[in-house]
Symmetry: C2
Subunit: 466 residues, 2 copies
């Protein structure tokens, strides 16, 4: 049985079964009219003051190419829930809708649509799971990385997390998300190949251990990679530093080692002592990099304690965004056949219709954003004096120029837009509680949208039995 | 520039750059002798009393097929760190080593090797990142799922997590890991296609909302899928239940709806009231499923409170193992050229040489495991009266029969082996602290292995400057 299965799934089958059962029902009922779906985050994680939009590139690439290949159709036929007629419909399935989205690298807040899809109902429905998966993953990781970058106070930060990330796709997309958020690069070679993220990395303990002594290992490695970073803590950190200094004496002007890496122990104390030894040995130019169990709190503590560290390699904690590993993302039908839709489920209200998010800058403090307003897409936004954040990125299934930002463009946007947020939002310490958060940075709903929502709820309520 | 990049990476490039720089050094130095690497978890997460081994299938599939394709070689050539001679070496690279591993579904503990690789040094080194990534991911998720299964007390549990998982690979592998750990199935169609995991799922709120009223939506859906589960909380949960009862009256003996799903609100109260309404309506056979923000603690609380719920759909919390989203996994060189290797780095000691893990059953209480012993692979294990957990699964790069378990075999093993653990380990409440954990279930090191470790450390210490 397993022999008949493909090794790799058809990308379009990264979907929940119910999308397909619903799709068959829509097709059977002839429900092909235009629908609008909003993708948003219901609540910010406790330790996040804002999120950084990421994942649009993967989404648009998927939407542009999504189709059911023969293995997918064959597999669905074997499931026993789908008619031949429906499978023939799926063979011709293409996404032909429009997409409006916040460009990657845009900071955003709870309940703001980060993406809206306008498409025939079955098309908008089917892509739900894939879109949520990618936006959730990449936004989760980019938003964590922003904190690490803030903590590092301008020092170089590199992603070493692939080995403890949640799978290969996370490994690939995270390196890109981290780079957008401000990391210098990654150890993940696949992310270099696919996205051109700059690669970093030198040696592991096993390299040292495979040699009979550390000095010999350093010498051999530096011969091959003169400007390398040497890992000094395999046996005794300061002993390792002395071996580097010995190597410098031995090589003289041929010594070009860029730095040392500390990966264990008391990094404040060891970095200080290592710095002193290096400086005394005339190696002021040799930098100190630190890794091993680092997160934004530890980096902040190290720098606050004055540890002379020039750069950080960050692993598992960043790799899985351990303090907030997922987001409360939602993808909701907000309009069908031109009529707004919402839910009355407890605590899960949804703003109906196509929307726009305006970012309002302080009129006195030029360039500092002070609040956002979620409005109806069609209401004139001029009176709000804000910048619209949702832009058209796909039209009838084809990517528009605004949906083709390069990695560097998204990275530059993230840096510029984060810098325009109020100082208090950029701190590591989060404002406790949703109420406090929205006092610092209000996200308002325009009066027109608010009225439309209330009217819709009022229309629906009498239909519900008491 | 991005146009020249492949859309998909070469699988072997899911590696840290330093594996490749080290590899080039090994090749340059002629270091091709036999090495042994151990893969283990340094510490259990606070809320885990044991872990469930998972990921071996992905690892062996990778090892058997790993190679550098032309795009990989071309990309590495562009990085500027690798010689033509080394790239020619990579073109011929194949993994030709031996692998010993705990079969999937085996419970294990901190510091126990879950896998050991015996291979020429460069081969064993290069695969480190991929192996860690997959074992960490799949073991993390399987170990979380064990807790959810325990909490559900025999009720059906289904994985609804794809949309909030960390990427597509996690989505695919997790559905398989969850099924091994005891979940009935998944909503993820791709996991059905690739692994044959049973599929579950019916309808979302958007289906209800796309119809002008809920009754009509229920009727249409049940016509197409007579034995479906209807989602009742879009507008008003008990109103939704009444619509199901109305539909039953309308359809008479043609009514075959299997259940209803509650996805919001006070699930204890709503499930009780729904049960009463259904029973009063003569629908005793209609089951109640619950979903929406569930984890093992909430499921346990619901059932402890007597909520009449027959099955659970579990999403994000399980999907990312939110309380322990990664593991402190390590992949360490433990032997090279027939000599044991270890590290002296603070807090990161490593047991040298090839090893075996024996699980010791209580001689009085037949079939209940009471402790494990980590021993040298070559020491006679008979005196330990235990079952060896590491088995040969790959020889010279080819999978052995023991490395080809079906999903059902691994699932059956997990169930049987977890049942043999002491009752106290299977509780949700974890034993606080490593000391308490090891008092409940000791993991000893055999005296021979302990002596070998101490001797090695003693040999190394004088080499380290004071």
């Amino acid at each position: 049985m397993p022999d008949a299965r493909p090794e790799q799934p058809s990308p379009i089958l990264f979907t929940d079964l119910y999308e397909l059962t619903m799709l068959q029902a829509y097709v059977a009922e002839g429900q092909h009219d235009e629908a609008v779906f909003s993708l948003f985050v219901r609540r910010l994680p406790e330790r996040r003051n804002f999120l950084l939009a990421c994942g649009l590139d993967s989404v648009l690439q998927f939407l542009q190419t999504a189709h059911f290949d023969t293995p997918a159709i064959d597999y669905l036929a074997s499931v026993g829930k789908f008619s031949d007629q429906f499978l023939r419909y799926l063979e011709k399935f293409r996404f032909e809708g429009d997409v409006y989205a916040m460009p990657e690298g845009t900071p955003f807040f709870a309940n703001e649509p980060v993406m809206e899809i306008v498409a025939p109902l079955p098309q908008g429905q089917l892509v739900e799971t894939f879109l949520l998966n990618q936006i959730t993953l990449q936004t989760t990781l980019a938003s964590k990385a922003v904190r690490v970058i803030h903590a590092a106070r301008g020092r170089v930060v590199v992603d070493f997390g692939l080995r403890r990330m949640q799978g290969l796709d996370a490994g690939l997309k995270s390196a890109r998300a981290f780079h957008i958020a401000g990391l210098a690069g990654t150890s993940n070679v696949a992310a270099g190949q696919v996205y051109g993220v700059p690669l970093y990395g030198t040696m592991a303990h096993s390299y040292i251990q495979s040699h009979d002594d550390e000095s010999r290992a350093f010498r051999e490695f530096a011969r091959l990679y003169p400007d390398t970073v040497l890992l000094v803590d395999t046996y005794d950190t300061l002993g390792g530093v002395r071996h580097v200094i010995d190597l410098a004496r031995e090589l003289g002007s041929a010594f070009r080692v860029q730095g040392i890496r500390l990966d264990s122990g008391d990094l404040v104390e060891l970095s200080r002592q290592a710095r002193r030894l290096l400086d005394d040995g005339g190696l002021q130019a040799v930098q100190i990099f630190a890794s091993g169990g680092l997160d934004e709190e530890r980096i902040d503590a190290l720098l606050t304690a004055g540890a002379p560290i020039d750069g950080f390699g960050v692993g598992s904690d960043l790799a899985v965004s351990s303090d907030a590993p997922s987001l409360d993302t939602a993808y909701k039908l907000v309009s069908y056949r031109g009529r707004g839709r919402t839910k009355l489920s407890a605590g899960k209200g949804v703003l109906p219709g196509r929307k726009q998010v305006y970012r309002i800058d302080d009129p006195h403090l030029h360039g500092v954003a002070i609040r956002d307003v979620i409005a109806q897409a069609e209401e004139p936004g001029e009176h709000l004096h804000g910048r619209p954040l949702l832009v058209p990125v796909m039209r009838r299934g084809e990517r528009l120029p605004a949906g083709q930002d390069t990695l560097d463009m998204s990275r530059a946007r993230a840096q510029a837009e984060i810098a325009r947020l109020p100082e208090s939002l950029r701190q590591l310490r989060s404002a406790a509680g949703d109420a406090t958060k929205s006092a610092i940075y209000p996200v308002d709903v325009s009066s027109a949208l608010s009225r439309a929502h209330q009217t819709l709820v009022a229309q629906m309520l009498p239909a519900a039995p008491l």
